[in-house]
Amino acid sequence: MPVGAPNWGMRTMTDPKHDTQRPGSGTGGLDALLAEARATPPEPARDLLARIEADGAAVQAERRNRDAVRSQPPWWRGMLEALGGAPSLAGLAAASVAGLWIGIAPPEAAASWLSGDELSSAGLGFDPLSGYDLAVWE
């Protein structure tokens, strides 16, 4: 507003009696005080920031370790590898099926052999009740 111009009795921002931006003078004073506080925030110590970063790194490391444990193969996979892997499993399965089949429906040659005709001590080539064995039992 130009100097000397009438203001019709209205309050102006520069009127010292109504200067609401002065600290402590009404709402404007409080606003100035709050603005001053906003402009000068308490600064954290570098040591605190370093500790927070270290916590962050520790949580990341913890997570990496957990993920590594999760991605480890199960115990049975190690055993399978020791046996020769999946192909050996196929061989083992075939042998098991063959054994089961022989047990349920033995072929003729095997049946006569298993019936005892061929299963004599002479056939086996040893005497299970030899003197030596009896001596050991006593």
């Binding site: 002065r22 001053e36 925030p41 954290p44 927070i52 970063e53 962050g56 997570r63």
Partner: protein, 195 residues
């Protein structure tokens, strides 16, 4: 894109990078969020730096743990952290009613000529802090978040778990109480000399 949305996108990106194991993201998130959280804790706890440090570290640790299941776009990390920090501060304030008064904190003394102005500024800051500490916890929290941290009412409503109207009411009552508390301290704080 609005500034708030940009800030949220950046925070989400950093949290995702942190969760993926990026060590730089941890540093960036610390530099971006920890100072604001620390300042808020200091103001909520009446200038007790040791407690404010504990609260800040605890709040950030919760962020590190939450990062893995963080949902992008769901909440702003800073809003989430303000909420965690405010709750931690209020818990501590409830536990330590009757702790050391602000007046008991020793003032730094200096012979430098500019020290007078610095002391007056410090005195004003302390007077405000002292007045803030005389407010009920929720009023103080609302006034700090609105008028010192500069957050919006909807953000404060999220942090305080109340409606925006309740935020307006709390901040208005808080400001009125602050005005009343500071009314008699103008001369003491050198307001006349500063103008």
């Amino acid at each position: 894109m609005a500034f708030d949305a940009m800030a949220q996108t950046e925070e989400d990106r950093l949290i995702a990078a942190y969760a993926a194991g990026d060590p730089v993201a941890a540093r960036a998130l610390t530099a971006r969020l920890a100072p604001r959280i620390y300042a808020h804790a200091m103001r909520m706890l009446g200038g007790d730096s040791a407690e404010a440090e504990d609260v800040t570290q605890d709040a950030m640790l919760r962020l590190w743990h939450a990062a893995e299941s963080w949902e992008p776009g769901a909440a702003k990390a800073s809003t989430w952290l303000f909420r965690v920090t405010s709750n931690l501060c209020i818990d501590r304030l409830r536990k330590r009613r009757g702790g050391p008064a602000l007046d008991d904190v020793p003032e730094p003394v200096s012979d430098a000529p500019s020290a007078v102005a610095a002391l007056q500024s410090r005195a004003r800051t302390d007077a405000l802090q002292d007045a803030l500490m005389r407010l009920p916890d929720r009023q103080r929290q609302a006034v700090i978040l609105r008028h010192i941290e500069g957050l919006s009412n909807p953000e404060i409503a999220q942090i305080m778990d109340i409606g925006p109207r309740a935020v307006e009411s709390l901040t208005a009552r808080g400001k009125r109480a602050l005005e009343a508390l500071l009314a008699g301290r103008r001369a003491e704080l050198g307001y006349e000399d500063d103008d």
